[in-house]
């Protein structure tokens, strides 16, 4: 019973030619471009000096057939519009990207590569990207991947665009795998310290339970369940605890929770969920322990060393007033050499968001 396409938003506007033109001119003159969608994540990464290349007007859902579980949209299409369309068809983006403002676009979602609370249970943005069309650094329009899930033709250059912050190509459109909405959902809260919660989460995650969120903050463990009715009901009965406000999970996803705000600066520590970290200050722990947020205030070296010792890495997500010089953990020299060569392969004149990730990249 294929669902109708009646709820598809307006066709949108195809600005490929104008965008390609701007990239070609910038390439010829070796002028850097600052690639922008809704510009809601301007703070993430290093500042880019350059002419603005705006994708905000390049809009429209160009293909969406719910029974194919895939949606293709131009980069400037707003995340909110896409989620509304999916919701009307009982589907969703399972990786729950944060919307950092109403102007947030799907191109920015993919370029930033940020995933929400479901990440440890279903995968990240890159796991749901099936294909992209990009402009490379010479303004050539290239399509990688496609609209089908099983596709191993050529290199997976499409997944590479997720989290590359525009440095390997200007995303023109993206095909995303979409997921049926779970039929049941529940949120529970437990009073317990982190070390007890950490053990509890590890034990739960070894079992086939319908977990879709596991966070800890302020002496409380928050668990979210999503899935078929019987599985959710059985897990609810077993877990016990008190019923939690579902709005909590929205505030985690969209980073509107007071502990995740920009005011004091914010470190993001991506570490193994089972890792023990000894750092001063109160953490907001998500992803079952694999993503830990900490108000800035500790020296970069302390955050970096603690995360590295635990087997992960630290990102200065929000700086304390003004641009951040080194938001991302440094790469090993051999790995950085590969990054530079890959960048040169797709953007030989280094005009696409140069320096957004690392100074020379």
């Amino acid at each position: 019973m294929p669902t109708s396409l009646a709820s598809r938003p307006a066709e949108g506007v195809d600005q490929t030619e104008a965008l390609a033109d701007q990239v070609r001119r910038a390439s010829a003159e070796h002028r850097p471009l600052r690639i922008v969608g809704g510009d809601t994540k301007f703070f993430y990464g290093r500042a880019v000096e350059g002419e603005t290349l705006s994708l905000a007007g390049h809009t429209g859902v160009t293909d969406y057939q719910p029974s194919e579980l895939v949606l293709t949209a131009r980069a400037g299409t707003r995340l909110a519009d896409i989620e509304a369309l999916l919701a009307a068809n009982d589907q969703m983006l399972a990786f729950e990207p944060p919307s950092m403002g109403p102007a947030s676009t799907i191109g920015g979602v993919v370029a930033a590569g940020l995933s929400g609370p479901r990440r440890p249970f279903v995968g990240a943005v890159r796991d749901f990207v099936l294909g992209v069309t990009i402009l490379d650094g010479r303004g050539r329009r290239l399509r990688f991947g496609g609209t089908v899930f099983k596709n191993v033709a050529g290199f997976d250059a499409f997944r590479l665009m997720a989290g590359a912050l525009g440095g390997l190509g200007v995303i023109l459109d993206v095909s995303l795998r979409v997921t049926p909405k779970p039929r049941a959902q529940a949120a529970h809260i437990f009073e317990m310290g982190w070390s007890e919660a950490q053990g509890r989460i590890a034990a739960l995650m070894r079992r086939p339970l319908p977990l879709s969120g596991a966070a800890h903050h302020d002496g409380r463990l928050h668990l979210r369940l999503s899935g078929p009715e019987a599985a959710v009901a059985a897990a609810q009965a077993e877990l016990g605890g008190k019923s939690d406000d579902p709005a909590f999970w929205d505030s985690v996803r969209h980073m509107t929770h007071p502990a995740l705000g920009p005011t004091a600066g914010l470190w993001r520590l991506s570490v193994p969920a089972v890792a023990r970290l000894e750092l001063p200050g109160e953490m907001f722990i998500d992803w079952g322990g694999a993503q830990r947020w900490l108000a800035a205030g500790l020296p970069a070296s302390a955050a970096r060393e603690a995360a590295k010792a635990a087997g992960g890495h630290a990102t200065l997500f929000y700086g304390q007033g003004g641009p951040v010089e080194a938001p991302f953990a440094p790469l090993a020299p051999a790995l950085m050499a590969l990054h530079l060569r890959l960048k040169a392969a797709l953007d030989p004149n280094s005009i696409l968001n140069p320096g957004r990730l690392y100074p020379d990249l």
Binding site: P2, T3, Q65, P66, S67, L69, D90, G113, G123, A124, D127, R141, R143, F144, V148, F149, K150, N151, V152, A153, G154, F155, D156, A157, R159, L160, A162, G167, L168, P180, R206, P208, L209, G227, P228, A230, S270, P272, V274, W287, A290, Q291, G311, G312, H313, T315, F328, L331, A332, A334, L335, M336, L338, H339, R341, L342, A345, L346, L357, Y358
Partner: protein
């Protein structure tokens, strides 16, 4: 025949002083880990795609990462092509030797190094068999999800190189979704770690790029996979149809209803009858198509979803809906499906397995077109699909001893792949491009895209020595291949620029 590498259409390399190469490799390897005699090289002349054969110059079987580094350095310095090889079960000729190459076998890297139940990861060497991982962690209630049909034999290194799929991808994902970290060696001899022990790593997502890169970018020496909790309950339903199009329609309806089967497989009449004779799975031999729909989860949910699937299938015109009575029958149903390929041996001396993916709603039309092509090429075809993913495996039946039969099968297979591209799909869902589909890459991708792939390859392997002549065609090959097709009047995608 594509096992003839062509100086005009494929990469070329200067001649190598073979005795000097052998001497330098011998200095790296333990006695017995270097094969140079023709009778020893013979088993390496092809992989699971047995139609193409090339004898390599030398085979090396290192057992330590430092040896892999040293071998790659020597090959880089002497300009010798290197083809990495796992278990050799690949179906696209990805491990087919390039003339004069060194075959780098990872067969001795066959140890499971670590299992972490709390982190749900296993650290394994690339030569470990896919199924051995699940067997090693079964007592913990965990398994390694990707399950290509060859899982009893294929190695995890090959799985990563091919981004292998399997029967349960729809729910559990491909290899790329089940990896945590890989260690690889570049042609320059550098050891590089991609991914990490956390859920993400800083910088570009090179682990995603390397997964499915078919041995063109580097050689994996250690792989950390994610493990999945085993489902508490699993049930499979067999549904029969008197028309393959109705079965195709049912597949789209099941997915549209929001059901996510753990596996959703389809066989047409010829495939299911051959499988039944071979495996005695209890399939209804008068059907023109069957679906196997497996669901897992909480028992009550599985029962509920199976009831919905049954209702959807009946509405789509199913003639029979049957649940496996017990675990033994569930396994029998699957044994029939897994035996579908070898069962073809009863119908013809040889078969050629195709691997395209199409959007699910195109299934009925594509099946009709494959039937038409079958008549025009004069070769029978049996259809087996990972239907839930739209991943087709038409099996073209031929006789390698009949003059011209293999050429016809190759042309028929190429036509099916071009059809997949024309309806919005892809030339390979899980078997890889390898050597087999190198020409069809020119159909799926524009010259600019092929050039971008070549630039990515060159970023990691400037001399082009890693698995040359595979996966990424030269522009010369695309020009030649495009020309042939114009000549035949069957140019797919006439709007793609040719040159």
């Amino acid at each position: 025949m594509l096992d003839k590498f062509d100086d005009n259409l494929d990469p070329t390399f200067a001649a190598v002083d073979r005795p000097a190469l052998i001497a330098r490799l011998a200095a790296i390897l333990a006695p017995g880990a270097l094969i140079t005699e023709p009778e020893g090289l013979r088993p390496y002349e092809n992989d699971g795609f047995s139609g193409y054969r090339v004898l390599p110059s030398v085979v090396v079987l290192p057992s330590e990462t430092a040896q892999v580094q040293a071998i790659l350095k020597v090959c880089g310095e002497m300009g010798v092509p290197v083809v990495a090889r796992g278990a050799g079960t690949g179906l696209s000729g990805g491990a087919l030797p390039f003339p004069g190459c060194v075959i780098l076998s990872l067969g001795k890297f066959n140890h499971i190094l670590d299992i972490d139940a709390d982190a749900r990861t296993a650290v394994v060497q690339p030569g470990v068999r896919n199924l051995a991982i699940s067997e090693a962690v079964a007592h913990l209630g965990l398994f390694y999800a990707p399950d290509p049909s060859s899982q009893i034999a294929c190695s995890i290194g090959g799985n990563v190189a091919e981004n292998a799929g399997g029967v349960h991808c729809l729910k559990y994902g491909l290899t790329v979704h089940n990896l945590q970290k890989v260690q690889m060696v570049t042609l320059a001899g550098d050891i590089v770690t991609l991914g990490g022990d956390a859920l993400d790593a800083p910088g570009f997502d090179l682990m995603a790029l390397f997964t499915g890169s078919e041995g063109l970018l580097g050689v994996f020496t250690e792989i950390t996979v994610k493990l999945t909790p085993s489902p508490s309950f699993t049930q499979v339903m067999l549904v029969a149809f008197d028309d393959v199009r109705k079965a195709g329609g049912a597949v789209a309806d099941i997915i549209a209803a929001g059901v996510t089967p753990a596996g959703l497989e389809m066989m047409d009449g010829m495939a299911l009858r051959a499988a039944e004779q071979f495996a005695h799975a209890g399939y209804p031999t008068d059907a023109e198509a069957i679906l196997l729909c497996e669901l897992d989860g909480a028992e009550a949910d599985v029962a509920d979803e199976l009831a919905r699937v049954a209702e959807i299938c009946r509405a789509a015109g199913a003639t029979e809906v049957r649940l496996a009575r017990d675990e033994a029958e569930r396994k029998t149903f699957w044994a029939g499906r897994k035996g579908a390929f070898p069962a073809m041996g009863r119908l013809a001396p040889d078969y050629y397995c195709i691997d395209g993916t199409i959007p699910r709603h195109q299934l009925p039309d594509v099946l009709a077109e494959i039937a038409r092509l079958s008549e025009s090429y004069g070769l029978l075809v049996a259809n087996v699909f990972h239907a839930g993913d739209g991943n087709l495996h038409p099996l073209i039946l031929y006789d390698a001893n009949a003059p011209g039969d293999l050429d016809k099968a190759e042309a028929f297979g190429g036509a099916i792949l071009e059809l997949c591209v024309a309806v919005g799909g892809t030339i390979t869902g899980e078997h890889g491009v390898g050597r087999e589909k190198i020409n069809q890459m020119c159909v799926q991708f524009t010259p600019d895209e092929v050039e971008a792939f070549a630039a990515i390859k060159a970023a990691f392997d400037p001399a082009g020595l890693l698995n040359p002549g595979k996966t990424i065609p030269t522009l010369a090959r695309c020009a030649e291949f495009g020309g042939l097709h114009v000549h035949r009047g069957a140019l797919p995608h006439a709007d793609i620029p040719r040159f």
